[in-house]
């Protein structure tokens, strides 16, 4: 007898085990072809089987070889639970099964820090779910009819001046604008947040862009999409649809060469510029696009060779918030003739209130929005240790920033946009509404968009392989064979349909509190069933 080599890795050490049912399997091979992680393979097994070969039953036991599908046992071939095998199998003969006794976190680190995409797997608490829209209009202030009333669902993006500073001159019974003011755009209160061409496949990025344009042009919903760091296709930069896109600049400056060269040819201004300082999924960790995903077209858009593309964790040469305002905001404002709002995106942090206060006091009045991203935000690639152990919950941080502005009478001057886990449970409208009541002008969402495209990743360790270049859904990969798996039109349609439902659901929440415009800062509309949450956010406790 052979002794057990206990240190060998077997598939019961891995996070997912493949359950295969040979009696249903036709050995068509589809599952093996579909598995991008090379986690399964066809194999021959020797089995003791009872068979009967006569025209009448004559059972005999024989040792026979039979083809089966077997899971590979190496760490590098670990099944990620994406379920593509199950999806493609015509006979339901195979499926991944979560292994509660996985030793994977120990085994995987033998080759260095674990990298992955997706959201934090540890901090999946849902503050928003202990909050209820509890101030329902009854009798004295009637609820509205979400189907019949009209609703004014728009949010500001841009630097808002205080009323005393407005350059308005009285002429008879009228006020007349007497000078220039910073650009402010009223947009839909949900921004499709920054996912770059590179992190996403071109087709996935295109699907989000297509949905954005469709929502604007067909349904009049002024949804804006942020490009992500990494530039954009020239075709779109010089199209009318650029007005739906917020261009992102981040610490790697990827793609900006193209953007700047396209400036003279732009037919219209972009919706805005978003300077990314950090993101909630991996604050202080910088951007990461593994070489596996730097395909030729990504090299072209970003102007780089095939290599790991690392955006530094900070903007080189940036010393302080004041300097950021002077250097980055001013230069980007100037680049677009002071016609385009320039906002900033930071990871939520214990220091967010100080940063926001500093921006509010900026004498140039040039920061057009403070985008904050909480720990539950997603990413295409990060060290798992950053994903799970760094960051800050967004709900209380958003509230802190809003109340800091209230204390100074400056609420609304720099619009607050918050994200990181919006729509995590599938209902983004409820999340958005609660964030608005707590003081956000709007929300940013990204991960749920790719989930609408077909991403199967989740917060319980399923897939999250965005960093590998092997995305089984063709969303986070640049492999042309995999990209073809994604149906762009169907993906865009999913996003459009979701956003139409989002809009209806937002009305369904506005109507019972009796409001036809957004209740930004209307914290009295909320109650919490959790005393600690209620106390922290300054809302009513209810039980």
């Amino acid at each position: 007898m052979e002794s057990v080599r206990t240190q060998d890795v077997s598939f019961n050490d891995l996070p997912w085990k493949i359950a295969h049912y040979p009696e249903r399997c036709t050995m068509c091979g589809s599952c093996v072809a579909a598995c991008t992680f090379n986690a399964i393979e066809p194999a021959m097994t020797r089995r003791s089987l009872t068979v009967s070969r006569k025209v009448f039953p004559e059972p005999v036991q024989e040792h026979l070889t039979r083809p089966v599908i077997l899971q590979k046992s190496g760490v590098e071939n670990a099944c990620v639970g994406c379920g593509m095998c199950e999806k493609i199998c015509p006979n339901a003969a195979i499926a991944p099964v979560r292994n509660p006794d996985s030793r994977f976190p120990l085994l995987a680190r033998i080759k260095g820090p674990v990298k992955r995409g997706g959201r934090t797997n540890l901090n999946a608490q849902r503050t928003l779910d202990s909050i209820i829209v509890g101030r329902i209009s009854q009798m004295t202030d009637p609820s509205l009819d979400s189907e019949r009333h009209t609703f004014d669902i728009r949010s500001p993006f841009g630097r808002v001046l205080q009323s005393r500073e407005l350059p308005l001159r009285v002429e008879g019974d009228n006020l007349v604008l007497a000078d220039k003011t910073p650009p402010v755009r009223w947009i839909y209160p949900a921004v499709f947040s920054d996912m770059s061409v590179g992190a996403l496949s071109t087709r996935a990025w295109e699907a989000v862009a297509l949905a954005t344009a469709y929502l604007n042009e067909k349904y009049g919903m002024p949804v804006r999409m942020c490009s992500g760091e990494g530039g954009m296709p020239i075709k779109l930069l010089v199209s009318e649809q650029l007005r739906y896109v917020i261009l992102q600049i981040a610490s790697g400056h990827f793609g900006w060469n193209r953007i700047i060269k396209a400036l003279p040819k732009m037919k219209t201004d972009p919706a805005g510029v978003l300077i990314k300082i950090g993101q909630g999924a991996k604050p202080g960790d910088g951007g990461l696009l593994p070489a596996a995903k730097v395909a030729p077209h990504i090299q072209a858009i970003r102007g780089v060779p095939k290599a790991d593309l690392l955006s530094p964790p900070n903007h080189q040469g940036l010393y302080s918030i004041e300097e950021s305002v002077q250097k980055m905001h001013l230069s980007l404002n100037a680049a677009f003739g002071f016609r385009v709002p320039v906002a900033i995106k930071c990871a939520a942090s214990s220091t967010s209130v100080s940063v926001y206060n500093n921006l509010l006091r900026d004498p140039y009045k040039i920061c057009g929005g403070f985008f904050m991203d909480g720990i539950q935000g997603g990413t295409g690639a990060a060290n798992e240790i950053s994903l799970d152990h760094t960051g800050h919950p967004i709900v209380s941080k958003l509230r802190d920033c809003y109340l800091a502005a209230v204390a100074q009478g400056l609420q609304g001057q720099i619009p607050l946009w918050a994200g990181g886990g919006i729509g995590m449970t599938g209902n983004a409208a409820a999340d958005a509404f609660k964030m608005l009541c707590l003081g956000a002008n709007g929300v940013i969402m990204a991960k749920m968009l790719i989930q609408l495209l077909g991403c199967v990743g989740n917060e319980r360790g399923r897939c999250n392989s965005c960093s590998t270049g092997k995305c089984p859904t063709g969303i986070c990969t640049q492999d042309p064979r995999l990209i073809k798996r994604l149906d762009v039109d169907r993906g865009a349609e999913n996003i459009v349909n979701y956003m139409l439902a989002f809009d209806s659901e937002l009305r369904k929440l506005l109507a019972p509190v009796g409001n036809s415009s957004l209740p930004v800062g209307r914290s009295d509309a909320l109650v919490s069933t959790d005393r600690a949450v209620a106390d922290k956010l300054g809302i009513q406790y209810a039980c």
């Binding site: 202030d141 509205l144 004014d152 005393r164 308005l168 006020l175 007349v176 209230v406 009478g409 409001n515």
Partner: protein
């Protein structure tokens, strides 16, 4: 829900007219109080129209606090009127021990001061007195302003009227403008400061309905002006916004409507003044109201205004007969005090309209 009303007349009126206007709308209030602000006074106050008039309900201790403070600040009392109250048993009123209406001359160093400086002094004095009276729980100061008198009390309006002798048209208490409210107390404890109309530096306002944007209005207003205090009622927000738009920003009156009920974005887009309207909406987003409300306001110059929420969820009606114009919640109020008017000319302002009644009783209607 409250019932609100106002009357503007060519000739001075007695408060009984306001009572008749409101009592006919009895079904809409719950006898939790009655209040009124009178402006452009006649009767006993006629000789003192330029002397700030203090309206006060207090205890004896409160009286002393006020007298001491006013003496210390150099105000000189020139006239005092105390209503003769009816102490018959059984009146349903939570009366205070004393009601004082005193005209003062300005302190000597302020007699030649400009209007703005005097306005600020009067506000500061009222705020200081309020603080002192609150600290010792010894009274309530409602207004301190030339030619303006405020009376508020908790109880049944008809009993309040009997208590103060408001039914007696004896010519002593009269005004050309009266703004009044009969209360329906819902959300808040019955406190006198929560009773409309509210007054600030010449601006009077009463409202009905619920201000669903109370929290965001209040949080914003707190830091806008030192006079924006109290917030005992969610309708004080409307007064403070009126004061802010007209007195602080000095914008034309029509922009009050643009601030509290901004046009929908799709409509703003079609307007020639869309840039101005957008800027106003951006800067004053936290002063928007979005609930069911009607507002009646009285401006320092005597203009009376009314408008309602953007969905017309609280109606109001305006009617007149050439001698008098009244604004009120229900038409039965108008029928009581203006039975001979041409009711076909009554105005039911719509959700985008603002109605302004000038001192010559000309009624102007503006669409937002």
């Amino acid at each position: 829900m409250c019932r609100i009303g106002s009357i503007k007349s060519r000739t001075p009126l007695h408060p009984s007219m306001a009572l008749r206007l409101m009592l006919s709308q009895q079904e809409g209030h719950d006898n939790s109080g009655f209040a009124m602000v009178m402006q452009d006074l006649a009767g006993v106050f006629a000789p003192y129209k330029d002397k700030p008039l203090l309206s006060l309900a207090c205890t004896d201790r409160g009286k002393q606090i006020v007298s001491d403070y006013m003496d210390k600040k150099g105000f000189v009392q020139v006239f005092q009127w105390m209503p003769e109250v009816d102490l018959r048993p059984g009146l349903r009123i939570a009366a205070m021990p004393a009601y004082l209406f005193r005209n003062y001359d300005y302190p000597e160093n302020m007699r030649n001061a400009g209007r703005e400086a005097r306005d600020e002094l009067l506000l500061d004095t009222r705020l200081a007195l309020r603080k002192l009276l609150e600290r010792e729980e010894s009274g309530f100061i409602y207004s301190f302003w030339p030619d303006v008198l405020t009376l508020k009390e908790i109880g049944y309006p008809e009993d309040i009227a009997l208590y103060f002798g408001l039914w007696e048209d004896d010519g002593r208490l009269m005004a050309k403008n009266i703004v009044t409210q009969a209360r329906q107390n819902t959300n808040y404890a019955i406190v006198r400061y929560a009773a409309h109309p509210f007054f600030l530096q010449g601006y009077t306002l009463c409202a009905n309905g619920e201000n669903t944007f109370y929290t965001k209005n209040m949080e914003f207003q707190k830091s806008l002006h030192r006079g924006y205090i109290g917030f005992e009622s969610d309708s004080q927000n409307f007064l403070y916004t009126l004061h802010y738009v007209l007195h602080e920003l000095k914008w034309p009156i029509r922009y009050y409507k643009h601030v509290i009920t901004p046009l929908p974005f799709v409509e703003t887009e079609k307007r020639a003044d869309k840039k101005e309207l957008s800027l106003i909406r951006e800067s004053l987003a936290h002063l928007e109201i979005n609930g069911p409300n009607t507002i009646i306001g009285l401006l320092p110059g005597g203009q009376m205004i009314t408008c309602c929420d953007s969905k017309k969820l609280r109606p109001v009606v305006v009617g007149g007969d050439g001698e008098m114009v009244a604004i009120t919640s229900e038409v039965c109020g108008l029928n009581t005090i203006l039975p001979a008017r041409d009711a076909s000319k009554d105005i039911y302002p719509h959700e985008r309209e603002m109605v302004v009644i000038d001192n010559d009783l000309a009624v102007r209607r503006w669409n937002q």
